[in-house]
């Protein structure tokens, strides 16, 4: 197989992986919404670069238009859940004037109640799962919190896979025929924390210098 063929094959795999992971996220919010008889359920991805929360999947109210919409992650209930890694269940949310205004402006839908849970994978908080306006006939219990946690685990795995697929595609787009090796290195780098990443990046930069310098051995 030529390098070009290999790249095309890997690219096709990555592309289809993204759409499948997206479908999985969508399925998770659909089921979450159904289980809690809720008006809506959504998954936000945390875009670390921009420090924003991005709608990745929505079921119910607003589902047509919200995908890709961004919010600053520095304030509000979603931001708090993301940073503190603690789930939060809030009722009577309309009494929070700031929340109502900001949410109405950005989504056109103001929930009265919200269950918000962080999406945790290893050490990272990848995003937030929200269930809005669950049925009033379902009184909140700790059993529901556990159920929400189970959904969150599933969503976190799907979100992690989606992020990896996107990263791999970006690497493929930017690289030449050796994309497979580069994609594997990039994926491993992604799993390192800041402290571990720095020496590896230095090593790669040095390797890059050596390769560019055409040093005779």
């Amino acid at each position: 197989m030529t390098d070009q063929n290999l790249q095309a094959a890997v690219s096709a795999g990555v592309m289809s992986a993204e759409s499948e992971h997206r479908a999985l996220l969508q399925s998770i919010v659909e089921v979450a919404r159904a289980i809690f008889s809720a008006k809506a359920a959504s998954i936000f991805l945390h875009d670390e670069e921009a420090d924003e929360l991005v709608f990745e999947a929505v079921a119910g109210e607003g589902s047509d238009s919200l995908i890709g919409t961004r919010f600053p992650s520095s304030t509000g209930v979603g931001g708090w859940v993301l940073v503190t890694r603690q789930p939060l269940i809030i009722d009577d949310l309309e009494q929070d004037p700031r929340h109502s205004r900001e949410t109405a402006e950005s989504t056109g839908y103001v929930p009265k109640a919200m269950m918000s849970v962080p999406l945790l994978h290893d050490e990272r908080a990848l995003g937030v799962l929200n269930v809005l306006d669950r049925s009033k006939e379902i009184e909140f219990s700790l059993g529901q919190m556990d159920l929400l946690g189970l959904f969150a685990n599933q969503a976190a795995i799907a979100l992690d896979l989606l992020q990896r697929a996107r990263h791999a595609r970006a690497v493929l787009n930017e690289s030449g025929g050796d994309a497979g090796v580069i994609a594997r290195i990039a994926s491993a780098l992604e799993d390192l924390d800041e402290e571990q990443r720095e020496p590896v990046l230095r090593l790669l930069a040095a390797l890059d210098d050596v390769l560019r310098a055409d040093v005779p051995f």
Binding site: W80, P87, I89, I90, D193
Partner: protein, 283 residues
């Protein structure tokens, strides 16, 4: 309004005397207070209003004039500068989320005469929050607060060692650290450390009902479901989560410490055990 001392005191380690007890010194370590044969709720906290106990809410800030919170004795915010330095400043923004106000209101509802302080470690620019959380805790321990409420945690392993050191430092300096347990199957800190009082939720409505958990790492369960809490905009909302069980336990600790200020964190935990609703608290 009395402000806490502004310069953070750096924890640089305990002094290291020889840890031994010569015969001649044994009389000098007598325990000042005689515990009753049966430690009851009434002995532990009956009649207490939390007067004089300094409680720190390490969170998203506190709305200072909220009717359910009352007077704040001090409020600071930690911020990471562009150079990466973390600075402690007077907090002029209050609460950016609502959560810190909710925690403060719960402590106040249980211990109306306690002295409340806010240390904001969350807010604009959540990035790098692990190091801000760590510095906020270090600063709060340096202030010698009696109780620090931490309804938050970090999953970053790189911070666990330092957090552990800080939690032990608080324990030895008589600052009681009350921390939310995680109710999802993930490793997070500092609630897993034995030097803190870790708290999960129960579903009962009585704010003074708490249970000892004989299967740690979570040590106690307090009220955390359907709690009416203070929220920003002088609002009141109903909310659930371990992060609201934690200030209930902080409030109970505050009541006990106001009545028995001589208690060390170890002794306080013992009193909590003996007066837990599933141990001797119902008697």
């Amino acid at each position: 309004m009395a402000q806490p001392q502004q310069q953070p005191e750096r924890y640089t380690g305990e002094s290291l005397p020889a840890w031994s007890l010569p015969a001649a010194a044994s009389a000098e370590i007598g325990i000042g207070v005689e515990w009753p044969e049966r430690v009851t709720r009434d002995w532990a906290l009956g009649g207490s209003t939390g007067a004089g106990i300094r409680v720190c809410i390490l969170d998203s800030g506190v709305q200072p004039d909220h009717p359910l919170v009352g007077a704040l004795e001090g409020a600071v915010a930690l911020r990471k500068t562009e150079d990466g330095e973390i600075v402690v400043e007077d907090d002029t923004e209050g609460d950016l989320c609502g959560h810190g106000t909710a925690c403060a209101g719960i402590v106040r509802s249980l211990a109306p005469d306690c002295r409340l302080f806010s240390v904001r470690v969350l807010g604009a620019g959540f990035k790098g929050s692990g190091s801000v959380l760590l510095e906020g805790l270090r600063w709060a321990i340096g202030q010698g607060f009696d109780v620090i409420n931490m309804s938050l945690s970090t999953t970053k392993k790189q911070f666990s060692g330092l957090l552990h050191e800080l939690a032990d430092s608080a324990y030895f300096r008589r600052t009681v650290l009350v921390a939310s347990a995680h109710n999802m199957p993930v490793e997070s800190y500092p609630w897993r450390f034995s030097s803190v009082i870790s708290v999960g939720s129960h579903e009962e409505a009585d704010p003074l009902t708490f249970f000892y958990n004989p299967s740690p790492p979570v040590e106690f369960f307090a009220r955390g479901v359907n709690v009416e809490v203070a929220w920003i905009g002088s609002a009141r909302i109903r909310s659930s989560g371990n992060s609201f069980a934690t200030p209930h336990m902080s409030g109970i600790c505050t009541l006990i410490l106001a009545k028995h200020p001589e208690l060390t964190p170890f002794q306080l935990k013992s009193v909590l055990y003996l007066t837990a609703s599933n141990v001797g608290g119902a008697k």
